[in-house]
Amino acid sequence: MAATADTVERVKKISVETYKYGFETEIEMDRIPKGLNEDIVRMISAKKDEPEWLLQWRLEAYRRWTQMEEPDWAKVSFPKIDYNDYYYYAAPKSMGDKPKSLDEVDPKLLDTYKRLGIPLDEQERLAGVAVDAVFDSVSVATTFKHKLEEVGVIFMPISEAVAKHPELVRKYLGTVVPTTDNYFAALNSAVFTDGSFVYVPKGVRCPMELSTYFRINAQETGQFERTLIVCDDDAYVSYLEGCTAPMRDENQLHAAVVELVAMDNSEIKYSTVQNWYPGDENGKGGIYNFVTKRAQCRGVNSKVSWTQVETGSAVTWKYPSCILQGDGSQGEFYSIAITNNLQQADTGTKMVHVGKNTRSRIISKGISAGRSDQTYRGLVKMLPNAKNARNFTQCDSLLIGDRCGAHTVPYIEVANPSAAVEHEATTSKVSDDQLFYCRQRGMNEEKALALIVNGFVKEVLQELPMEFAVEAQALVEISLEGSVG
């Protein structure tokens, strides 16, 4: 019992000094006026030199958005958002000249990414990883573009893809997440600025990891990125996104939409390390992270796996999903979510089994500490034609300290008798016996807890691409720093 009181005491003292990405880049910005209306939508579209169809698409989304209501079913609470109090477009002035190569990019921007551990210049690049770096509303640079072009893989900012590959973008954009899918998806469709576009042609195995690094820098600015990944027949790609933001007292909005399309026998592996600024120990500041991510396994035997490590954000609302349409298609969701201090997260997945012999697997590991609240919310749905479909779900929650909450809300809907669903969930604290055992062998309590928690999340960490697994493991430890003694 003494240990628990101690833990709570230390949680209180936790400092955000551990958030090492909290710096701000001083740079001259080009912004459009604050607020949201049709003119703003037109301005964003004009900034991006977009074709008329896309402007109309945005306007339609905007009009529908004005008639929709913010969802209130998630187990999160935050003050009413004034959508007119944000800037919807902010880009470094220097990017207005459209730099042709990295040499022309403002060194301050390159330095920012370097500090974040994502070097963009030729010599220091991460080997085997192509990076698209998005800074507020624009993409700053995309590495290895040409090397990828050689094998036919398109990897570029979505605004560039709209200009260079309009037929592909138009064919797929909004087909997985319709503009009116939900409140935040509609908002994103109206005002999205940058994000990545990936197309892997038939039979191509993408030779390197693709990665987008999202950075919110400007004040009072929302980030609304849009990512679209299409994997054609027999193709494969592994994609990873990372995100950080400076420490600020006010809340900032991030509402992304990610659409994945997997055709016959293709595979998309999508990993996220989400480390947006979580706010301070009193819950001041932090990012509101309202994200719609959905994959459509259109082709037979196609496969999509979502892996996420969610440690940041003040409020998270996020359910990466798979529509398993193609017969024999597979969906996977591996998640580690950690909330500390006053963070709130309502996250999980949806697996909708449409086709025959479809399979899904959900492994969710939630850790709540401090005064945080965390909910796993998941849907497994077997439609009448999902013959012999299978789902397995394992959902474990760990509580650290007695002031936090952990909740599990799975929805299981089965309308085919040959389908089988298996769901297991547990909630407990770190076992005193495990802690005692480790300490008897010489570890202090903090080391022991980090070790046990890492064991708890191991199954999910293993799913991350190797390049990022180590970073993610370190992040798990940092996120819990101060939550024990």
Binding site: I400, T408, P410, V414, A419
Partner: protein, 382 residues
């Protein structure tokens, strides 16, 4: 009607007027829409006599007018009127029977509340059961009917310190009937309560169960069966509140669904802040017997204390073909093999029903006649 009942009825009516019949946008009714109920589904309101109890040592029954005020005050204190079905029943209540088991007494026979509603009627049975300190009792609650109309019974159960109650409820209404039931219980220190719910009848049914583990050391066992066929829709909604430390609960629900039946189970385990040393386990399992049968399960954990061990498990699937093949290879005809497998599926719930011969025989008879009809229908389809 006494002043207490009149004002309770009034509150129910006001609440129901504000809420109306629930639709699927209400999270607690996500899989059960009641807005399409017709007057015929609900029946004519006819004053239903409450069950009559014969006296036995340790048992006392009161009408609200004659009961001690402390008992009267308990009426309506456990059933939340913000639930539309509780409000509907309360708005229409006519009489209440208060049943008290004296402290430390051990009843020799069960308390039996038997209801046989006639076609066309609407019934609103209402009971308050108080099991005094250290007492032990068994309560049998049965609902049957011979046609359309609705039964909307509400029962509130208080299990006082150290008392133990086994509560066996069965609902075998006519297949065109509607059943909207409420069971609410509160457990004091070291009390234990076992509730068994057998749901086989009614075209549309909903059973709300809410148990507050309000005293430290109290324990709950909750078992339920759904046996569905034809067009039946059966929805059980359970909420277990661990509001005190050192409380334990164990819940098992099993659904067998044939025809175009729709089984719905929503069950929440809630652990309040500072309710430490909690163990709460829940299992919901569903068996689909036909191509049009459906199951919706929503188990849920909501936990605000850390020294807990809580779990839920949920499975949905068909009968194990390999096992059926094995049985047939040993010479057992397919039809019998199927029945054996379903019997095995529900057996662990039946095992817990206990040793009261009358109850066990009733449950077995219900299961057996269900199996006969569900497999006859399946054969007919094939």
């Amino acid at each position: 009607m006494s002043q207490t009942l009149a004002s309770l009825r009034q509150s129910g009516a006001e609440s129901f007027a504000a809420l109306g019949w629930p639709n699927r946008r209400v999270e607690a009714y996500k899989y059960s829409d009641f807005t399409s109920l017709t007057q015929a589904d609900l029946g004519q309101t006819v004053a239903q006599p409450l069950a009559e109890l014969s006296d036995q040592d340790g048992l006392r029954c009161y009408k609200p007018g004659e009961a001690p005020q402390a008992l009267v005050d308990k009426i309506g204190s456990l059933v939340p009127l913000d639930d539309p079905l509780a409000a509907y029943s309360t708005a229409n209540l006519d009489d209440v029977l208060i049943i008290e088991v004296a402290a430390k007494s051990k009843l020799t026979g069960p308390i039996v509340l038997d209801h046989r509603r006639l076609a066309g009627q609407a019934a609103f049975a209402r009971y308050l059961v108080v099991v005094g300190r250290g007492a032990e009792a068994e309560l049998i609650e049965r609902y049957a009917s011979n046609g359309q109309g609705a039964s909307s019974p509400v029962i509130e159960v208080f299990v006082e310190e150290g008392a133990h109650l086994r509560h066996l409820r069965s609902q075998t209404e006519a297949l065109d009937a509607t059943h909207l039931g409420w069971t609410a219980a509160r457990l004091e220190r070291d009390a234990s309560y076992s509730h068994f719910a057998l749901n086989q009848g009614a075209g549309i049914s909903r059973h709300n169960i809410r148990v507050d583990l309000a005293g430290a050391g109290s324990h709950l066992d909750l078992y339920g069966l759904h046996l569905l066929d034809g067009q039946q829709r059966c929805d059980s909604h359970t909420r277990i509140n661990h509001n005190a430390p050192n409380t334990t609960s164990n819940e098992v629900y099993k659904s067998v669904v044939g025809g175009s039946g729709n089984s719905i189970f929503q069950g929440k385990i809630y652990v309040a802040k500072d309710s430490q040393k909690i163990e709460g386990n829940q299992m919901s399992r569903g068996l689909l017997l036909g191509p049009r049968a459906r199951i919706h399960n929503k188990p849920e954990l909501e936990i605000y204390a850390d020294d807990v061990i809580c779990s839920h498990g949920s499975t949905v699937g068909a009968l194990d073909e390999a096992a059926i093949f094995y049985l047939r290879a040993r010479g057992i005809p397919a039809a019998i093999a199927h029945k054996m497998m379903v019997e095995a599926f529900v057996q662990d719930v039946l095992d817990e029903v206990g040793d009261c011969a009358e109850v066990t025989a009733h449950w077995q008879a219900v299961i057996s006649s269900y199996l006969t009809s569900v497999f006859a229908d399946q054969d007919g389809q094939a």
